[in-house]
């Protein structure tokens, strides 16, 4: 049986499930779209002292419901912020180590959590030139990552065409060996499941299925062998309360259509 799609959209499910992963008091570096929505949702629910950082140079804003910014670089990102500062300086906070979680969307991901937002096909003769890294490469190089994305075979590939934002590279100790001595993939949230990464081989594995989703359904929508955790659980579906707050934040469904 599928999840009750009539009750909420896939994007709403993503936003709610990822918001639950955030703890009060954390400093979270959030991208635009679902991440921005999820951090704001967490702030309004269980994590009122969660601090949001936006790439545009914003520390600790409260985004106004119904006035979501089209990127992390417009004035709407600065509402009730504690500080605004140059882009380079807010990015450097990642390198300095002040950030608990980096939170982004993803176009294409592989078994080691490497993300591609640069090229589909051969980078020298690309089938599709995607927009590029933005801060993604920096965020995923320098802190622990949550990625929220749709669970589709074409997005969950054995090996990404191009590593824009590094996950665990080729697994094992390869990330640290490449000089990335901190951070790494923490969680991947999709409309089907919640995933983490094995502590040794660093491959993606399913930690929990969303209500009504089967193992086969996950496997059929994944382009590589995906392991299931020994203690596989099921997530609680979005509550009426969570959905109500979420819909107030994004009444025009700018990010959640």
């Amino acid at each position: 049986m599928m999840t009750d799609k009539s009750a909420y959209t896939a994007s709403e499910l993503l936003a709610v499930m990822s918001a639950r992963l955030l703890d009060d008091g954390q400093i979270v570096f959030a991208g635009v779209g679902i991440p921005l929505l999820a951090v704001t949702l967490a702030q309004r629910l269980h994590a009122p002292s969660l601090t949001i950082l936006f790439e545009g140079g914003v520390i600790g804003p409260f985004v106004v419901p119904g006035e979501l910014p089209p990127s992390t670089n417009e004035q709407r990102c600065t509402r009730k912020a504690n500080m605004v500062l140059p882009i380079t300086d807010v990015m450097l906070l990642l390198q300095r180590g002040y950030i608990d979680i980096g939170f982004m969307g993803g176009a294409q991901i592989d078994r080691y959590g490497n993300l591609n937002s640069s090229f589909i096909g051969d980078p020298d003769k690309p089938k599709t030139r995607l927009p590029g890294t933005g801060g993604g490469n920096d965020i995923s190089s320098l802190t622990n990552m949550i990625v929220a994305m749709k669970h589709e075979k074409r997005r969950f590939v054995p090996e990404v065409d191009f590593v824009t934002s590094p996950g665990f590279l080729s697994g094992g100790t390869s990330r640290a060996d490449a000089g990335l001595v901190t951070g790494g993939m923490f969680r991947v949230v999709t409309d089907l499941a919640l995933m983490g990464f094995d502590g040794e081989n660093r491959q993606m594995k399913v930690l929990a299925l969303h209500q009504g989703v089967s193992r086969d359904q996950v496997l059929n929508n994944t382009g590589f062998d995906l392991a299931f955790d020994d203690e596989l659980t099921e997530t609680e579906p979005p509550s009426a309360d969570e959905l109500a707050v979420l819909r107030k934040l994004d009444p025009e469904q700018l990010y959640t259509a």
């Binding site: 670089n73 417009e74 140059p86 882009i87 990015m91 030139r129 890294t133 993604g136």
Partner: protein
Amino acid sequence: MADRLQVKPYLDLRAETQARDRGLHEKVMSLEEAAALVHDGDHVAIGGCTMSRTPMAMIWALIRQGRRNLIASRSIMSNEGDLLLASGVSSHVVTSWFSQGIVWGISKVMRLHVETGKARFDEWSHMSMGLRYRAGAMGVPFLPTRSMMGSDVGKRAESETREMTCPFTGDQLVLLPALNPDVAIIHVQRADSYGNAQIDGLPFMDMDIAMAASKVILTTERLIDNAQIRRAPDRTRIPFFTTDAVVEVPFGCAPHECYGTYEPFFDQMNDYAKLVSADPDKGAARYLKNHFYDTATWEDYLERFGTAAMLDASRRGRSIYDD
């Protein structure tokens, strides 16, 4: 031309700076006069980020004057990047992200030009763009970073970066080469006639690109008196001696936003996206004709958006001060 992006020898950089007119005097001029300070082949750094404080009026003037072979760099490029490529003003961009904005999807104009090999898109991480400008502003040939390693973004930039083992700790680092743009074009809320600029809201990378560049062209919503600058010197973000030109251009970022003054013109941005999605080549050409080539003045350009759109954007823009 790409040698414009190579690290400038320090003594050349110093000599160039010494030779610049750094006096405290009037630099006010027209958009057309300021645009003439940009030469074919120059590396032009564009201030602001995505849809914010984009120096659109200066880009309008550069496109109208038919500048060629500019290398355009910016923290993040929105559809001003489309217009630079489609007009033939630039076929080489250096940035971290390039599309109108995530809610409009991937830029079809960028795709057309980059996928057919007509344009070159050098991709650097956002922090790397910032550190490259900052190195340029600091007068050092590079800055080290702990980012860009292990990834293909780093690999693709390998011919321009170096790896280093830290002599103190043994840590692995990547060295990012300084950018000293030939010209920085920056839009601000207020500037005086000498080129002291105040920036409200997000400063993006603008202080660094101003300090790094060999020439700075400021466009400003309002031209204010130097006495007003001196009353609140803590608000000055760009000092007069880096500035070569000051142009007063109200709504100088339209249809993008200028913090506290106007938000993006969302309907017009939607219209643009629709136009170029249907046909990136002809759509962009039509937009350029209507909004750039067929508008003799900046006022003409703004009239294409209409009073209602301007009022709506400015009402939303000023609402930031309601909190």
